[in-house]
Amino acid sequence: MRGLRKYLTPFAPDQSGAVSVLFELGGIVVICDAGGCTGNVCGFDEPRWFEQKSAIFSAGLRDMDAILGRDDRLVAKLEDAAQKVDATFAAVIGTPVPAVIATDYLALKRMTERKINIPVLTVDTDGMELYDKGEEKAFLELFKTFAVRKYPVDEKRVGILGMTPQDVSDLAAADKIRDLFRQKQDMQAVCYCMGDGLEEVKKASSVSKNIVVSPAAIATAQYLEKIFGTPYEIAYPLVEELLPEMDYTNKKILVVHQQVIADSVCRELQNRGAESVQTAGWFMMKKELLKAGDIALRDEDDYIELVRSGDFDIIFADECMKQMTADFDGMFVNMRHFAVSGKLIGR
């Protein structure tokens, strides 16, 4: 049945993706909910939350706030928090409750900006889309708000767009990418939203090119190209470390991950002699990377059918999917995807 899950828990929702983008940037992040969504984001979908303090708040909506549409109360609470907490911006992240009552985020933004002296971002997530949709909206809002000034281009700097724990499933990935670029190309990699703060977002026009590691950031890369002329490539620089050393020649392989990583893994496997590589994904499939035969998965039955009919030798996917096809007798390689299982690589 469409929408019924018997094996997998729901994937990271759009609001978690939006928070993931903004988490490290020093803003007041207000999740416009009654408390449960914030608990989900903090307690599950944002692994950095356990390790560093951050100004993530719940709006603490109650039934009468929703029924009466008391946005002014939220604005007053935000004003109060902005006086108490040092922050460079405020962001309001949507959830199902404001979606049901059709909150006007633009009005909310204007009302709040009149009261506080910091920029206000709003992201109209609704908890029903997936994390990448929320990331896409948040990346665009972030760069449109802060990357407004044209800086001289530094040929030794490259921007990494789309880095979030949801996408790369590894809290050390940003450091690894910086090391990789420094050692192999003598370049400085700027990992937006994962290790490099808001100042780097403001100086986004100074990088010589952007590397896009997640489909959610493609729209932002295109925006930066249009505004500043910054070219972009789509690839995951750490792809090699995702593949265990083994003989892939003449193997029929299925790869399930977010589209950029799946595509990079696919190309790497083809280079290593795989007979065929089928890529599939639960999340957004951008036309920029879409190949004939790529499969968009929606329900558990789609995946089960794909594996049963695919005659694969090897599956690369998050381990939590293994239980859906217990009769699969090939090799299952655990390629973690935090947005799917909520687990990081190596943990």
Partner: protein, 427 residues
């Protein structure tokens, strides 16, 4: 420099319960979420939230009908062995919200899930969330439809975070749902139910012995019911003991539907008050309880702890099995210091403020959820030991106890176990 807001107990006592500062009222400010307060701010995120509580009926399963975000963190629970293959999801999208079509899918989904299970569940709990609260969904009706299709009991379970401070918050409602399956049965004079927790009291809790000594043969707790048949015998009880105030509505339901009256007791850490409470219970039951030995053992544990930590200076949090104000008062009465409490002030725990103010007027009370808690600094607190997950988080360099275990400490056994554990953590 910004600092975390607090009030001393003296100030709070002087202001009175009708003049509590806005910083302590969760509807007056944004709610700060720290790892310390996750379970409190989001009751479904850790411990026994609605989802886990809803599966307290033996052999039950749960279908969560909600946007994906509401079910996301369930994998934390479903990875626990006892919940394996018990959570299922029917994910809503925007069209569902506009048209309500998800309601028609629920009976079919229940049938599909049950057909795929090796063993038929005892009951299917349908968990719905804020979205359906706003849509005004009549889930009772949908459950009846599902029952007709699947031939099993199907019950609603409301995870309405929006109503957390309402008359019937989610954790109150879920307790009612859990017992709604019980049918009237012939009463047995020697059977009693303990209501309040979703996990059992500590095995060595004296309450069991006291009740047995008073002629009670069978003591039911939902978490100790081995199967659905045993659960059903809870309706044979002569009376209920309510050990947590959130079970009051459920107990009233028992009274109205099954004609089982209830007596309410509190979890306390003051040994004199525990004894008084037992004596009051004994007089209601028309028996005598000899509690001296239990009290002596508990107070001996306090003294044993004092020997290893005579200068104990406590921070007491609210993320633990107890009321932080009552526990702080107990610690003060035992002669320890309590410089800090992290808690939410309610009408029910404000009663301790007067005595706290007498014994330790300068004790600082922090509001866990207030935005300035992001700046909490333990440096000048004078705290050297902590109780509660939140207190432990704020004082990471101090020894401390989370004291939020599933197995419920209660009565003198609770006091004894607490001080034994405290002794263990400083030795």
């Amino acid at each position: 420099m910004s600092r975390a807001y607090y009030c001393t107990v003296k100030e709070l006592n002087e202001r009175g319960k009708d003049n509590i500062p806005d910083q302590f009222k969760s509807n007056m400010h944004l709610i700060y979420s720290s790892p310390a307060t996750l379970a409190f701010n989001s009751p479904g995120a850790e411990g026994f939230g609605v989802k886990r509580a809803g599966l307290a009926v033996p052999d039950s399963i749960m279908l969560i009908v909600a946007p994906g975000c509401c079910g996301r963190n369930t994998s934390l629970i479903s990875s626990m062995r006892e919940y394996d293959n018990r959570f299922f999801y029917l994910m809503m999208d925007e069209t569902d919200i506009v048209t309500g079509r998800h309601l028609k899918k629920i009976p079919k989904a229940v049938v599909e899930i049950c057909e795929g299970l090796e063993k038929k569940p005892s009951v299917v709990m349908i968990c719905i969330t804020c979205v359906d609260a706003l849509l005004g969904t009549d889930m009772e009706r949908v459950c009846r439809k599902a029952e007709e299709k699947v031939g099993l009991p199907v019950r609603p379970c409301y995870m309405y975070a929006l109503t957390r401070e309402g008359r019937k918050p989610p954790m109150v409602h879920v307790r009612q749902s859990l017992y709604s399956l019980l049918e009237p049965a012939k009463k047995k004079g020697n059977v009693v139910n303990l209501l309040g927790f979703f996990s059992p009291l500590v095995d060595d809790c004296e309450l069991y012995e006291l009740l047995h000594g008073a002629g009670i043969k069978t003591i039911h707790e939902i978490s100790r019911c081995r199967d659905f048949e045993e659960y059903k015998t809870m309706s044979e009880a002569n009376f209920n003991l309510v050990l947590h105030q959130e079970s009051r509505f459920a107990a009233e339901d028992f009274n109205d539907r099954l004609n089982i009256p209830f007596i309410e007791l509190r979890r306390l850490y003051q040994t004199d008050k525990i004894q008084n409470q037992y004596q009051a219970l004994a007089s209601v039951l028309g028996v005598k309880f000899d509690t001296e030995e239990y009290r002596r053992t508990a107070e001996q544990a306090v003294e044993d702890f004092r020997k290893v930590c005579p200068d104990a200076s406590f921070a007491v949090g609210e993320c633990m099995n107890g009321d932080p104000f009552e526990l702080a008062l107990a610690l003060l009465k035992y002669g320890f210091k309590v410089p800090e409490i992290y808690g939410t002030i309610t009408v029910e725990n404000f009663v301790y403020m007067k005595q706290l103010a007498l014994l330790s007027p300068d004790t600082r009370v922090f509001s866990n959820m207030e935005p300035t808690m992001i700046y909490y600094d333990p440096a000048q607190s004078g705290v050297n030991i902590t109780i509660g997950k939140d207190a432990l988080y704020y004082h990471q360099d101090c020894p401390g106890l989370m004291w939020n275990q599933d197995e419920q400490p209660y009565g003198f056994a609770g006091v004894r176990r607490l001080f034994e554990a405290l002794k263990g953590c400083v030795e």
